[in-house]
Amino acid sequence: MRMNSDPESKVVRACQASQVEGLEGPYRELYDLFRDRVYNVCYRITGNASDALDASQETFGIVFRKLDAFRFESKFSSWVYRIAVNASIDLRRRSQTRKIASLDAIRERRTPAGAPSYDPRDERIEMPMAAASRHELEEEVQRAIGRLSEKLQAITVLRYNENLSYEEISQTLQISLGTVKSRLARAHQVLDRELTPVLDKFYLG
């Protein structure tokens, strides 16, 4: 089966055979393999470092506690991503009030004046993300992602931030391939509405 091609299967099996408690040996190796991936997903879904840290901690807690029960019926990374997405969504729901408050602050913000225009066909122009105002644009994009529904958010983050294929997303979220594609199309629809004015202002001035 596909389990033989799972790059993490070796270290997962080592963890399952290990009697070590805590973050030692194979557990440490597994943690190092996934820490940034998990934290990144958690950050993009929760939208802030504090919640991302909590969600990441919860994700690894669940992963290590239930590792013995993992039967390689899916890709290990898909299992970890699923736990991370669910933990982040749970945390995001819990801090919904705080999110609403921050959205009010977003709307009051002004796009910085003098932002460079961007022509995607012109390869000589520095990518806008590398510009001085990259941080502010990132914040806008992050906020737009935050405004997506949980389902669309998970699809967007897994697809564009974690570069998962549609099949991997399907496996991770346990939904059909068609649902993955339709959700991604809907996510684009929302992002187009939310971000295009910002991007036009940002790139075209």
Binding site: D36, S56, F64, P120, M129, Q142, I145, N161, Y166
Partner: protein, 258 residues
């Protein structure tokens, strides 16, 4: 937007996943300017989201994961320990005692067994109850005195006793109080004293009365008859005379009876 446009836009996911989206989009993107702009926006959106900075886990995450794992392990151990606790067994007689409770006369042997299993009152309780019923104040005082702290003799007592012994006149025992015993001589003297006192007492009493003693006429004190009785035993005295003598003698008769 016509049906071709809708069809084109519905295949966005496939277009975006293609290695060359523009080529994958086909002829429609080249013919329809609106769809071409739309595709450009979608590609730009995908690029912007994709270029978001990848966040790296902060160093404190490892510590927090370790702490969470340890807490989970502690919780697991605690649950296991509680599960392993030996459950106290009900006494073997419980079932039978319950049955006997519904039919008390059914099992006398069980009743005796249960009686043996009961905690008994300490033996001292019976004595205390008897004392309380008999002479409560007396035994309460005794128990109170018995509960007083003992006071050690001062150190100089030994020196004092030693000095007395060396002096040779140390009293070996405390002199006993002399008890008043009514011997014959003493009784006679006491009786005489009583009679004299009574006589003098009555005479002086009659002398101050108007009319003298019994049978006095008007203007003379009445002269009262009196009676002289000789007795050898104080017990034979008239109670009135006895009280009088006792009062005159300063309680001598009462002291004798103590």
């Amino acid at each position: 937007m016509n049906s071709e446009c809708r069809h084109f836009q519905s295949e966005l996911a496939d277009v975006l996943a293609a290695p060359d989206p523009a080529a994958f989009a086909g002829d429609h993107a080249g013919e329809c300017a609106a769809c071409a702009r739309w595709l450009a926006r979608q590609l730009r959106l995908a690029g912007v989201v994709r270029e978001l900075e990848r966040k790296t886990a902060p160093p404190e995450l490892a510590g927090r994961v370790v702490a969470a794992l340890e807490a989970g392990a502690r919780q697991t151990r605690a649950v296991r320990a509680v599960q392993d606790l030996r459950r106290p067994r009900a006494p073997e007689t419980l079932d039978r005692s319950l049955a006997a409770g519904f039919a008390p006369a059914a099992d006398e042997a069980l009743a005796r067994e249960l009686a043996r299993e009961r905690l008994g009152a300490p033996p001292v309780l019976e004595r205390l109850v008897v004392e309380e019923l008999a002479e409560p104040e007396k035994f309460r005082v005794r128990r109170f005195v018995g509960g007083l702290p003992r006071i050690d003799a001062p150190a100089e007592l030994a020196d004092l006793v030693h000095a007395r012994l060396l002096a040779g006149n140390a009293p070996t025992r405390r002199p006993r109080a002399r008890r008043w015993a009514p011997g014959p001589t003493r009784a006679v003297w006491a009786s005489l004293a009583a009679v004299v006192l009574v006589a003098f007492g009555l005479q002086s009493l009659l002398g101050i009365l108007p009319g003298g003693a019994a049978g006095g006429t008007a203007g003379q004190p009445a002269r009262r008859p009196f009676h002289v009785q000789y007795t050898r035993s104080l017990d034979d005295l008239d109670p009135v005379a006895r009280s009088l003598v006792d009062g005159v003698s300063g309680g001598l008769l009462t002291a004798r009876e103590l």
